[in-house]
């Protein structure tokens, strides 16, 4: 039977407060801030606003270029070890139940095995030199010939010089 005491006791009080709070925020967003947003200055393509920002210059060169492979392998390596850590979290959380269940030792050894397997992967990648993402392997763009430099060489002008009309 619903009366004031049971109403509060069964927790409906909290629901009432949260509902009130929710409605206030809904009203605030829809009506008050909504109207203000409607009246913000809205000039999406004024002048060069849409152009890519490159320190105040019209962007030269092209961003859609073929990057070096080494960045791709590096992200793959990161992905693998990220998942590995993600898998360690539940194990760590449940480790006390293992101890109560008496199989703490075996759980620990299993994790070591798991880490060992991934360690082998890390060693392979390390030996192959893929972790060294800064320097490029010989034969890549950073060969002696291109390091000779001189004036900046660029494939071709991809952007007209004058500001877009």
């Amino acid at each position: 039977m619903l009366n004031a005491a049971t109403f509060l006791h069964e927790g409906w009080g909290n629901v009432l407060i949260f509902a009130a709070f929710g409605l206030v925020f809904v009203w605030l967003n829809l009506f008050v801030i909504g109207k203000i947003l409607l009246r913000r200055p809205n000039k999406p393509d004024q002048g060069a606003k849409g152009a890519t920002y490159e320190c105040g210059e019209p962007a030269i060169g092209d961003a859609w270029i073929r990057f070096d492979i080494r960045f791709y392998t590096l992200t793959l390596v990161f992905l693998v070890f990220d998942i590995e850590v993600a898998l360690l979290f539940p194990w760590a959380a449940a480790y006390d139940t293992f101890i109560e269940g008496g199989s703490g030792g075996t759980a620990f050894v299993e994790v070591l095995l798991f880490l060992l397997v991934l360690g082998v992967g890390l060693a392979y990648v390390w030996a192959r030199g893929d972790l060294q993402w800064t320097s490029t392997r010989p034969g890549r763009a950073l060969s002696e010939e291109s390091l000779k430099g001189g004036v900046v060489r660029v494939p071709e002008a991809s952007q007209p010089e004058e500001a877009p009309r």
């Binding site: 105040g56 950073l142 390091l147 430099g149 060489r153 660029v154």
Partner: protein
């Protein structure tokens, strides 16, 4: 030859021919342009990079060309002085001294001893302030914001000191041909000595905070090494040359404005860490030069002779007689010089000012090949450029 935004970029092959065709990778060309936190002003650098490694760069200057030399030829002698201040707005008094020295040598104007001492005192204070800004800015480029705040504390006191004598905080118009405009009071001398002690006391604080900071060391030791030969080839002078091991300081080698009366050491070459000529040595070089400048200030104040501060013969409408001179002096960023020609007219016939940053930046293109982009920032921060004197 393609032109992109005023940049003459040579037509070049897409990548090194040694690559097998299938895994051809391209280079990214972009601007580290006029509006960039680490270019210390409106310098624009076009970079060609492979990933993080800079293959080639081309600094493009001229965004702050303010026609200084044409103005010096159009205005009378006295009117032209404020424009020389605005060349290196961080070491403005040294710029004034540069122009004034060559005009005085050409016109054989005699400067009273007290005025020479006052010029030395204020120029050295200006050098300390400029080096504090440069060291703090370099720390800021490397990501350490706090040292910049600490160094600015001393810099603000120094600015108030100069403000008290010259009337300006950053640009002073204090030095005239044949002397200076105002004398200093005894109270000011006491404050100046107190300020010198304060800066000297805080030097080890800066070193612990920034110079010997582990991260800073990793970022700057052995990075962008400018050796003696490259510096001389590009005529890069000042802390860059001295950090590269060349004991060249015009205050010692070609003394002017009675610098020979003071004994101070010229810090040179490899300091206690890092390789000779690397970014860390340039930074350490500036901090050591601050300590030397403080010594000079103390000696100059102690030995300040009596006498008037300006040459009475030089009045407002003064004109230099026919003649020419080339005098160089040591500004915080390098050697400035003025090739002054006078034909007896109301204005200088030609006053060719040398901005050290103009030559310090020109070695950026060769030095940046093979650097990482972060190291290029270390290189630019350590050579400490001011675009005012670079573009004039």
């Amino acid at each position: 030859m393609t032109t992109i935004q005023g940049v003459r970029l040579d037509e070049g092959e897409r990548a090194a021919p040694a690559l097998p065709r299938d895994i051809l990778t391209e280079e990214l060309v972009f601007n580290m342009g006029p509006q960039h936190p680490s270019t210390h002003g409106v310098l624009r650098v076009v970079l060609r990079t492979d990933g993080e490694v800079v293959l080639d760069s081309q600094p493009l200057i001229g965004n702050l060309h303010r026609c200084c030399e044409k103005i010096l030829e159009s205005l009378t002698y006295i009117q032209g002085l404020p424009y020389v201040d605005r060349m290196d707005y961080l070491g403005a008094l040294n710029m004034e001294l540069g122009l004034v020295l060559s005009v005085e040598k050409a016109a054989a104007v005699e400067v009273p001893k007290r005025a020479q001492y006052l010029r030395v005192i204020l120029c050295e204070i200006n050098r300390v302030i400029s080096h504090l800004f440069a060291a703090g800015q370099f720390g800021l480029d490397m990501g350490a914001f706090t040292p910049f705040l600490y160094m600015f504390r001393e810099r603000e006191e120094g600015l108030t000191l100069l403000n008290e004598v010259t009337g300006g905080r950053l640009l002073y118009h204090y030095i005239r041909y044949g002397g200076v405009t105002r004398d200093v009071s005894d109270d000011w001398k006491r404050k100046c000595i107190a300020w010198c002690d304060q800066v000297a006391a805080h030097m080890d604080e800066y070193n612990n905070l920034l110079t010997y900071n582990h991260i800073f060391l990793n970022r700057t030791v052995g990075v962008a090494i400018i050796d003696r030969e490259t510096a001389l080839r590009y005529a890069a002078t000042g802390p860059i040359l001295r950090a590269a091991g060349v004991p060249r300081d015009l205050r010692k080698d070609m003394p002017y404005s009675s610098y020979e009366d003071f004994d101070f050491k010229v810090p040179v070459g490899p300091h206690d860490k890092g390789v000779v000529g690397d970014s860390w040595n340039r930074h350490r070089q500036r901090l050591l030069e601050i300590e030397e400048s403080l010594k000079i200030i103390r000696q100059a104040i102690a030995k300040l002779p009596a006498g008037d501060v300006a040459n009475p013969k030089v009045t407002r409408g003064w004109k230099a007689p026919e003649g020419e001179a080339y005098v160089a002096s040591e500004a915080p960023r390098g050697e400035i010089s003025c090739y002054f020609i006078s034909d007896g007219g109301k204005a200088p016939y030609r006053a060719r000012m040398r901005g050290p940053s103009f030559y310090n930046i020109s070695l950026l293109s060769e030095m940046s090949r093979g650097l990482l982009i972060g190291d290029l920032i270390a290189l630019m921060g350590s050579i400490d450029i001011t675009l005012g004197e670079c573009d004039r």
